[in-house]
Amino acid sequence: MASDNKHYVQFVKVQKSYDGEILVVKELNLDIERGEFLTMLGPSGSGKTTCLMMLAGFETATHGEIVLDGEPINNVPPHKRNIGMVFQNYALFPHMTVAENLAFPLEVRNMGKPEIEKRVSDVLNLVQLGEFGNRRPAQLSGGQQQRVAVARSLVFEPKLILMDEPLGALDKQLREQMQYEIKHIHDNLGVTSVYVTHDQSEALTMSNRIAVFNDGVIQQLASPEALYEEPDNAFVAQFIGENNTLVGDIKEASNGVCKVEVNGIVIDALPVNIGAVGGKSTLSLRPERVTVAPEPGSCPNIVDANVEELIYLGDHIRTRISVLGHDDFIVKVPNSSSHAQLKPGHPVKVGWHARDCRALDAPAAA
């Protein structure tokens, strides 16, 4: 099979079941580009880690084929796949020093001593740990251990790097710093990376593309912008960022606009993923796209609402209002003079554009 850059890693109709009864991964088709940073994002139990483990070779695919650089790797044992992996708790070997940890993958490849030393010192400098080679992992801080783990997965120049929630054990500030560091290393080396996380902000910060997993299926595969701005379905809209949902009946759909009746009022929306007229639809609306007290006629949807709660967050005011029978509708009001008119219990008018209100699939039966 010839390899090309667009299809560097391929999952072809991959299915995985642990017990022969439930499919953890249901027919996965995924192409990863060479040099891409792809994130598998999803709640726990969505099948994302299983996919990563199948790629690494620690789980076998029940059905389907996994291809790396033109070679099917289903039957290649993990140590021959040449895939670097960063584990959740780093899995640094505690009985070896940092330098010995980094030399390990080179030693098992029977590399010469001078070459090993050079590579180890290069990669230590890459992660800014030049002087820590003789320390034991336990003598390093969490962030430093994390960098060693990344360095170890890079030092043997693997075809692919897998990262399984590598930042989960770090505190928030360090996690954000490490996100940038990993991103920079990826930008500098251009090594294809697959990253698994359940943290959406991490995914948005680092990735070229994000595959949102739920229930063993990729719900949407898109760039961070597209995922946030143009979610394909209710799950993605709900999972990525903050989101208001209004459930209603589809009345009419034509020419890029559809009308959905919510609680007796017809709303203009952008049809994205809807069924036939008469069916149900979930309307998705980002909190920052809602205007408070709009000029009459400035947007097609203007409805009456009632302010329930105000939460002061510095740069903006989070406002919970009840509208169209939903009392958990959130509006982000920028911290300017305009928020003065909002008071809990008072009526207010809110409006939005049809293009910001995406009509998606019907909510789950529950």
């Binding site: 690494a56 044992p77 140590h79 899995a91 070997f93 098992v108 043997f156």
Partner: protein, 423 residues
């Protein structure tokens, strides 16, 4: 210097009311320390009275030798002046003193004890002292001739040399015989001849059998522990119960079970005969010899190896092996270079535990050991309860203790005792 001292005094941290911080801290912690001490005290006293003091007493017995000097208190000072190399018997005054000592000792019924003590060094002393004790009441001067008339041995220079040697308050004689050595004609220390050497052979046998048993336990326990640590909790608990099951049965029952299994009319031999591997009149001798001891002891000591290994292996995350594999190591390399080094603490703990238990094991070798499978502890027990030579038993025990301490020291140098993890 003085200036520095003042500076330090000035730097002492004080609490708000001016007491030095350290004093205040010590005061606040005193209650807890007292409480901790009270919790430890009963056990400490128990161990002191029932364990520590008896051991010190036993060690003391291995060199203690006051009986000769106390009972023959007139003879011994005179004996010090006697020149054993002169080739002549001690003079009349000494024999007179001996007669006095003997009369006193017979009245106090202590002459037999001296005889028994000296009998450890040379058989015949017990009889000599009993005989002399009976006849000494009617003894008349000249004493030398009278004593020789009672028993010719009193005219033997060797007897006198021995009494002189063992007349001091402390002796190394027990250690000398525990090391298979003896005294030559002029009291120099020589090796016993081949046929009379027992203890060194026994020490050596105890050592290598304990090492072998430890090694076999490790070989058998390692895979089991690995399996236990990788299985699901429910299954591993069940298996762990099976490992611990022997603990719930009495040691005697387990050893007897091995007799039933291994004896010549036992289950294994029956089976082998039935299969046709062994002829009926040529059944294997598997018990009451070394094989029996080794088999039974491995079985009994195995849990002591499994438990520390298991508890260490359980703490090793499976991601280590996965990481090693993803880094390019095959299964074998990953196991040897990444997994095994992380189990060293468990191996160390298990080996020390099994080895120390094995080196002092007594019941099992006594029951199934026969001739070739007895260990040094069986001989210590023999001297404690049958020959009543407590001094020799104490000397053997002390040597065993010293050997264990030396091995412990070597272990500490090689592996490091801090690396040991018992769970």
């Amino acid at each position: 210097m003085a200036q520095a001292a003042t500076a330090i005094e000035q730097d002492v941290m004080v609490t708000v009311d001016g007491t030095p911080l350290k004093v205040s801290l010590a005061r606040s912690l005193r209650r807890n320390k007292l409480k901790a001490l009270l919790l430890v005290l009963p056990l400490f006293l128990f161990i002191l009275v029932t364990f520590f003091i008896p051991i010190v007493d036993m060690l003391f017995r291995s060199v203690e030798n006051q009986i000769v000097g106390t009972v023959l208190h007139r003879t011994v000072p005179l004996l010090a002046q006697w020149d054993e190399r002169s080739g002549e018997l001690p003079d009349e005054t000494l024999f007179a003193a001996l007669a006095e000592d003997f009369k006193e000792a017979t009245a106090a019924k202590t002459s037999g004890r001296v005889g028994r003590r000296l009998n450890y060094e040379k058989p015949g002393f017990s009889g000599l002292f009993r005989k002399t004790g009976r006849k000494v009441k009617t003894i008349e001067p000249p004493y030398r001739e009278a004593f020789i008339k009672i028993d010719k041995k009193w005219g033997d220079l060797d007897i006198w040399r021995l009494i002189k040697r063992e007349s001091a308050a402390f002796t190394i004689a027990y250690y000398v015989s525990a090391m298979d050595l003896s005294y030559g004609d002029s009291n120099e220390i020589i090796r016993k001849d081949e046929n009379n050497r027992i203890y060194l052979k026994l020490f050596w046998r105890t050592l290598w059998m304990s090492l072998f048993i430890t090694f076999m336990c490790l070989v058998l326990a390692y895979p089991i522990s690995y399996l236990l640590s990788t299985l699901s909790v429910a299954t591993s608990n069940l298996l762990l119960i099976l490992v611990l099951l022997p603990f719930w049965t009495s040691l005697l029952v387990r050893t007897s079970a091995w007799i039933a299994l291994l004896q010549q009319e036992g289950i294994i031999n029956d089976l082998l005969v039935w299969v046709g591997v062994v002829a009926n009149d040529d059944r294997l001798q598997m018990i009451h010899n070394r094989t029996g001891t080794i088999v039974a002891m491995i079985h009994i000591l195995l849990p002591f190896m499994v438990l520390p290994l298991y508890s260490v292996m359980k703490t090793i995350p499976p991601s280590y092996l996965r990481a090693a594999r993803s880094l390019g190591a095959n299964q074998f390399t990953a196991f040897v270079r990444v997994y095994m080094p992380n189990t060293v603490s468990g191996i160390g703990a298990g080996c020390i535990l099994v080895f120390i238990l094995a080196i002092g094991y007594y019941i099992t070798p006594a029951l199934v050991g026969g001739q070739s499978g007895t260990l040094i502890s069986n001989f210590i027990a023999h001297h404690m309860s049958i020959s009543l030579n407590w001094g020799l038993a104490a000397a053997l025990g002390s040597i065993l203790l010293a050997v264990v301490l030396v091995l412990y020291f070597v272990y500490d140098k090689i592996v490091g005792i801090d690396n040991m993890k018992l769970g």
